[in-house]
Symmetry: C2
Subunit: 375 residues, 2 copies
């Protein structure tokens, strides 16, 4: 079977696995950089290969609006279009409809909205989302869901019902012999009983993988971690578990320790466009004048192409708004997250994940007086 | 001697040569992409190496203002700062002072102006230009000159006198044992007698190379070519000849056929930022909707990394203002000019430059009915 998921080692609740896909194996845990409009912003696909990136996410909402999913299909699908031959995942479009589109009407069958690009009237339904994602042709596709305010119980309850109804419709519109793996999304906000009810409904559909949606949308980190604790035990151990939209280095540790296998986030590329970079000693902003004469690389723990450039040079590029800055810092940030997750995978296999977490977190979060004086 | 120039073959007035520099040999004719602010916009230096680029130009005016030439010196010089180990050329700052700065006063000793970045008062003189270029540390540095309106005889005559006076001051501020080669600049607008007088004065200084300045600033192409015809015979055959700021594919043919050895221009990267790309059949703009479903590469004659992407995908990136567009099209355009000049060098050695020109020009300029129907 194309989408077999093997767990090769566990360490506490954490798991190291391999997810087989038609475009190659994904060692898990894995972090997927986001290529919203069929490009990981500023980073050519060959650099993603060089960084050993094993999964890229692209956005259904954006590609449906521009250049159009039918055009992408006619040009050989998303892999061919963007010259990325590794595994791809597309989201359902639901999250972006709610966050970017101008909503006209939400009903039990779908959402009517206006495009944020040209104001054109559009409608997205579970069936349309499946059709668009079929046109795009990613290896992993997501069910169309509604992401509510996680702290409003009534809103969350209504969104759960809709999400479950829509999942059934997605499932009906997804052929059993598809070469795409459909993942279901568990909603439920920060409410344990609603999360568990959603997990029960979604896992009853016997899908290739399960996502935890509706997090990293305004709740506190403690609420996010608690919700993972409340939800993950309800997800079957033999399917990959995907925490959507999460990618801060500390959140990756917390998620992996709790048993999450897949993550995606725009953070490495978005931060880069603001001049911010990950280091083992926390996030830095290269625009800061203290880097004016700093001849060291962004972070000594990495050895990617960006490591050849000094912080002083990168600061100059950021201040001068030079395009090369966005490329080099994006490369660095993606590499940082990929190596971080890879290190945790090795630690899981070695049974040393707690040691890794205990060493990484205080330094990254600067809770350690020693780290305070680090660059 | 570090800056020996050898002519290895001639074909009519055209020459194939090698210019030896402390950072490597430059086969000539050569086209230098421009890295204004210590970066060829959007293109990492390793890609320039992959494209076999042998010379990069950077701008003294810009680097003096930001990040400051003394900072660059303290960080090991421009090569080290921008991680480019090949030959570098810096201009004198003169051209940018006149085109970008807000001029307060021009006198016989230099120019007082305001920075276009922060309005700060600045002064540039021949001595300061030499000092700044020494701090930057390029292999080839340029004399500080005044670039006049090429069609105003009185203005050109006054600029000639100033340029010659300033050249003497540059020469006096340039040590004989320098590891930087100082090139003089011939001015004279479109007036043959003024060009010849300037060439006489400048070549009497016995410098490592000679530039033809003050062209590509508003005169017609015919005037530019005529001025080359009027000027080049006055330049000694055993020194490299540099046509500043010129880089259109047809101008490269016309310049090389007349005996120019070095060219630089922002055109490949500037066009890329507008979505425009060179092809053998002329310039195209990838934003054009006719490329929406075009699965071919930008130009079949090239095989760089950008060639892996379809025009349809590049059009999407341009329309979506995705950063990857600027990288890929810049890469393509630089490769186009570099291969074009390299082909002419081979043709000079084979004695077939006229055939190359007769084949390239009508097709590129679409004077040929067959080329009209080409993509």
């Amino acid at each position: 079977m194309a989408f077999e998921f093997e767990v090769v080692a566990t360490d506490g609740n954490a798991r190291a696995g391999i997810l087989h896909t038609p475009h190659g194996d994904i060692p898990t845990p894995v972090f997927a950089p986001v290529g919203t409009a069929a490009t990981v912003k500023a980073v050519p696909p060959r650099d993603l290969e060089d960084l050993n990136i094993k999964l890229v996410l692209s956005n259904t909402y954006h590609l449906h609006l521009r250049p159009g999913d039918e055009l992408v299909r006619d040009l050989g699908g998303l892999h061919n279009f963007m010259a990325w031959n590794g595994p791809l995942l597309t989201d359902s479009g639901g999250f972006q409809v709610f966050s970017l589109g101008e909503i006209n009407r939400i009903d039990d069958d779908g959402v009517t909205f206006r495009s944020h690009l040209d104001g054109s009237a559009r409608r997205l339904t579970p069936g349309r989302s499946m059709e668009i994602q079929r046109n795009l042709g990613a290896d992993i596709i997501m069910a169309f869901d509604q992401c509510p305010n996680p702290n409003h119980r009534d809103e969350v309850q209504a969104a759960n019902e809709r999400t479950h109804r829509w999942l059934r419709l997605c499932r009906e519109n997804h052929p059993d012999d598809s070469n795409q793996a459909l993942f279901g999304i568990v909603q439920g906000g920060v409410f344990p009983d609603l999360r568990q009810a959603s997990a029960r409904f979604v896992t009853d559909m016997d899908l290739k993988g399960y996502a935890i949606g509706g997090l990293a949308v305004g709740e506190t980190k403690e609420e996010m971690y608690q919700t993972l604790d409340d939800t993950l035990p309800s997800l079957p151990g033999d399917r990959p578990r995907y925490l959507m939209g999460v990618g801060e280095p500390d959140d990756l540790v917390e998620g992996i320790c709790r048993g999450v296998d897949i993550f995606d986030c725009v953070i490495p590329t978005r931060l880069a466009r603001h001049g911010a970079a990950f280091t083992q000693a926390g996030r830095i902003n290269l625009r800061n004048s203290k880097f004016k004469t700093d001849e060291s690389a962004i972070d000594a723990s990495l050895s990617n192409y960006a490591s050849q450039f000094s912080r002083a040079y990168l600061r100059h590029l950021v201040v001068a708004k030079e395009l090369l800055a966005y490329y080099l810092i994006s490369l660095h940030n993606i590499d940082f997250l990929a190596r971080h997750v890879e290190s945790m995978r090795r630690a899981i296999i070695a049974g040393t994940l707690q040691e890794y977490a205990a060493q990484f977190l205080p330094r990254y979060l600067r809770r350690n007086p020693v780290a305070e004086s680090a660059p």
